[in-house]
């Protein structure tokens, strides 16, 4: 009669627990394999790009097709493109989200709209570019301009706004609406005074995500309004402009004799904008999730 622990795992249980440990460790390793490249990329960009970063880099206009000077006109151009795209995508997207969350019944129309949103999000960026060229540059005769490029970006980012806003509208409890309706408020009064103020976080998250997408995209703007090289700041929505993303594409592939640190410095700038915006969105979401009382 052995005096071993009667609760010790049997051979079979021991094998299961061993497999459990291997599985847990294995999946952790795979997850890290996915995330380590991201950290590696960041490290490479910082190390290689840091020599090119200085205040002058942000405030000087580019010279010699981008091989020398700074990125001021590209930065300003990107701000223009993003702002105009936002001004178009946000109202349309929020309206669509309100319709889907507050008015739509479960019928064929709603299903069609949902399918369209899913597909709009999945259309390749170069197809959006072709659409922009056909619809905005030629058909509506905006020409190659900030307006055409921003419209293209707006169509592309519309699903992002809709999905983020719809989620936050649906998170507002039904009881809030019931209370408002019982006071005699119309559907719109309820939305305007009760639902929207309680879902500001979602709309803001949508806004930030649109900025991220619009700042980073290259293909949709390269044929609709962004140009290779231009020293002038844009003066209005019908001007052409430089953009950060296209500038990065050009200094890394099109222009010869670019010092090695220049593309990395531009890439670092771009990724810092995108990551800080994303981090802001994440922080915002967590903060609000913690604060919500309902």
């Amino acid at each position: 009669m052995s005096r071993a622990n009667p609760f010790a795992p049997t051979a079979l249980e021991g094998r299961s627990l061993g497999a459990e440990k291997v599985a847990r460790l294995g999946f952790l390793v795979v997850t890290l394999l996915l995330l380590i490249p991201a950290l590696g990329i960041l490290a490479v960009l910082v190390v290689e790009g840091a020599p090119g970063m200085s205040l002058a880099f942000f405030t000087e206009k580019p010279r010699e097709n981008g091989a020398a000077g700074g990125i001021a006109t590209a930065l300003v151009g990107t701000v223009w493109l993003t702002a105009v795209a936002l001004a178009i995508a946000l109202p349309v997207g929020v309206a669509a989200a309100i319709y889907l969350s507050e008015y739509a019944r479960d019928n064929w129309l709603t299903r069609t709209i949902n399918v369209a949103i899913v597909n709009l999000a999945g259309v390749p960026s170069i197809v959006h570019a072709l659409f922009g060229v056909g619809a905005f540059v030629h058909f509506l005769q905006f020409g190659k301009s900030i307006l055409a490029a921003s419209c293209t970006l707006a169509v592309m980012t519309l699903p992002v706004v809709i999905v983020a806003t719809r989620e936050s509208l649906q998170a507002v409890p039904k009881a809030f609406r019931d209370a408002s309706w019982n006071m005699g408020a119309t559907r719109w009064q309820t939305i305007w005074h009760i639902v929207l103020p309680n879902s500001g976080s979602g709309i803001l998250t949508g806004l930030i995500l649109v900025v991220c997408r619009a700042v980073g995209e290259t293909a949709p703007i390269m044929f609709t309004g962004a140009v290779f090289f231009r020293q002038l700041y844009p003066g209005g929505v019908f001007d052409k402009t430089m953009a950060l993303s296209l500038h990065l594409f050009n200094v890394s592939t099109q222009v010869t004799n670019v010092p090695r640190h220049v593309p990395f410095a531009v890439a670092l700038t771009l990724i810092m904008v995108v990551l800080s915006m994303n981090a802001l969105a994440i922080w915002f979401r967590m903060k609000l999730r913690g604060r919500k009382k309902w």
């Binding site: 459990e20 599985a23 847990r24 999946f27 952790l28 795979v30 997850t31 394999l33 995330l35 991201a38 990329i41 490479v44 960009l45 290689e48 309206a95 669509a96 309100i98 319709y99 889907l100 507050e102 008015y103 069609t112 709209i113 369209a116 949103i117 899913v118 597909n119 709009l120 999945g122 259309v123 390749p124 960026s125 170069i126 197809v127 959006h128 570019a129 072709l130 659409f131 056909g134 619809a135 169509v155 519309l158 119309t186 559907r187 719109w188 009064q189 005074h193 991220c212 700042v215 980073g216 995209e217 290259t218 293909a219 990065l248 594409f249 592939t253 593309p263 890439a267 990724i271 995108v274």
Partner: protein, 316 residues
Amino acid sequence: MTTAQQPPTPHRGQPAWAAALDTRDRAWWNDLAMRGVVLAGGMSAVLFIVAIFGFIASQGFEFIVNRLDLGELLLGVRWEPTVEPPQYGALPLIAGTGWITAVAMAIAVPLAFGAAIYVGEFARGKQREWLKIGIELLAAIPSVVWGVIGLHVMKPIIQELFGVQVGLNVLNAGIILGLMAAPIMATIAEDALKAVPDSYREAAEALGATKWQVVWKVVLPHARPGLSAAVLLGIGRAFGETIAVLMASGHRLMIPESIFDSAATLTATIAAELGEAAVGGDHYQVLFVLGMLLFLITFAINLTADWIVRGRRSKA
């Protein structure tokens, strides 16, 4: 809303009792107007999808009707739009897209599913939050930055590691695309795992199953439709990526014979050539025809993925 309601004024020819019953005040008309506005917003997504197809088809319309030889476009091996006579055989582009997407999926599927299983089933608390944030940030890296990574970082690594001359090739683009697609696939796959009811897990655990046994025998089989949707959407994503592929693939207009050959994809070819093609010319139109092909394929992929996910949800 705060002001007291005005008694309704009778319309011309309306009896007083009808006017008294008419409660359509300004708020009512406002409500009606805004209902129209948001409906229009909701319809915009449908409008844009239809418009995208319509505009792209109309730009390529003349070519499709008069000069399109579908056999040559899909099976021709020479893509030489600028020589005389021009050759529009897109097989090299289709083959390049296929190769690169296949390599990307070979990399992305294990990474994405592994990460989804770990984050969804094993990780807890803070660790889980941080991993999710990491995956989200990875998904936010812009395409053109990935392109720079392929061009300046991956290229020398591949040349060194495999001793090959050309560092911009199918492997390079595939790795880049795989890393780009993996975070999105991981997020969708994790949603699919989350959709499996907890009672299934509890039942298995009550029978003495370990976590791994629960995942392997219970969760994964039930999440299979969602996981296949994740793969499909990943393929759609890799397939439609443009700038990163253009920069990392070497853009050589020939059918690649191994993963160390440079290749060109449909998307990258449009991006590389649209700027130079004369507006309205044959070359310009054939690029729109390629765009139509891309649109139709991604449309089919997205529709199928959506159908798989929805079909499952309505059953559950």
